[in-house]
Amino acid sequence: MSFGVEVKGVDASGQFTIANTDLNLSHFVVTAIGYGTSAPKVGSNSKIFINSKNLPGRTIIVNEGSNSYGFQQVTVTHNPDFSTFTAVTITTAPISLYYFVIAEAKSIPVPTGSAGDYGLQIFKSDGSVAFDSRRLQTNVSFYIKEFYTLNGSSGSIVTTDLNAYVEPVGTAAFGESRSGLIWNSFGVTYVSNFWSLNVSENAGAGAVAGSVGGGSGTIPPTLIAQTR
């Protein structure tokens, strides 16, 4: 290794290399971790993972804005005087969740002013920066502990680990199709796709017979992560 930092360790098996930094720091780092009704976004290509273990039984959606994520619980209500299949409305209200946000390290801006005066930089042979500690936002890291593969049916159990954080895939802004997550005492369950604020029952999609379910939308593969 000609450039960068190499760290060696020793254990009963002998000497081993821990890490080197001769590549750009392009992996994902945790940019925010907390609890509340919204989460900040820093950098690009960010992803959020959520957990709602302390408020079980709620249907949750995540709305992604340009600078933040907003968390909402969804209530599905049937219109008592319905005469067509457009008989369902959805109302939402803010809900607090555990969350953590990750983003590509190389996309995180280096702090300006005095906050940017401290840190550690490691350069590559061409003079570009391989590592800049100022892009690290927290002292928390994460790992992917499970991977939920495509099932295609609503009500599928995503994970039985109540402490895991789940990637809320398939969620979108109001007025678009979106899916929700329900935390119960057994784990995390997907519900069907919702279609805008006035749900149209469409070949089983949307809310059916007083309960949320029967979605025709497919559930994308989902990451399940944990912090450390």
Binding site: Y35, G36, N54, P80, A115, T138, G210
Partner: protein, 164 residues
């Protein structure tokens, strides 16, 4: 200086904790914003209440007393619309929010029993009448309701056995 444990956002007028994050590289500065809407506060070992290692528990069950400037354990809110009143040491809540929730539950119960009023089902006339009585009770559920704190506080009518 104590290590920062959480960076907390507090609703300035009520002391309600709106959210908390673990320390990051560029935390918002402490203080109350210009509009007097929210306060940013750094929580360290010296002002962190006992047993608050879980950030969710800390946010959900504590308030910031604007007079004593201390965090106080209140417990879980009595409903989604509740705010702790430090003057009366009790919860205040938006009754219309709870009433909306009750109506939503009622509408779903009515929806689930709609089929009983169709003529081409297998119910007897007596059962259909029993279901109609149940549905009337549901429709009247908001009469003389008082000020329930939760859906569970409502005296819901017992559905007929064929609806359970």
């Amino acid at each position: 200086m104590n290590n920062i444990r959480y960076i907390v956002t507090i609703e300035h007028s009520t002391g309600k904790i709106l959210g908390a994050v673990f320390p990051n590289i560029s935390p918002e500065p402490e203080g109350v914003d210009e509009a007097q809407n929210r306060r940013i506060l750094y929580v360290t070992d010296s002002n962190l209440p006992l047993d608050c290692e879980d950030i969710g528990y800390f946010v959900e069950e504590h308030y910031f007393n604007p007079t004593t400037l201390q965090f106080v354990h209140i417990g879980k809110p009595i409903n989604d619309y509740a705010t702790w009143n430090f003057s009366t040491s009790s919860w205040d809540w938006d009754a219309s929010g709870v009433l909306d929730d009750i109506r939503k539950v009622r509408q779903n119960m009515l929806f689930r029993s709609d089929w009983t009023q169709l003529t081409d089902n297998s119910l007897t006339a007596e059962q259909r009448s029993e279901a109609a009585t149940y549905r009337t009770a549901l429709r009247n559920i908001t009469d003389n309701l008082g000020n329930p704190a939760t859906i569970e506080d409502v005296a819901w009518p017992t559905p007929p056995s064929f609806l359970r």
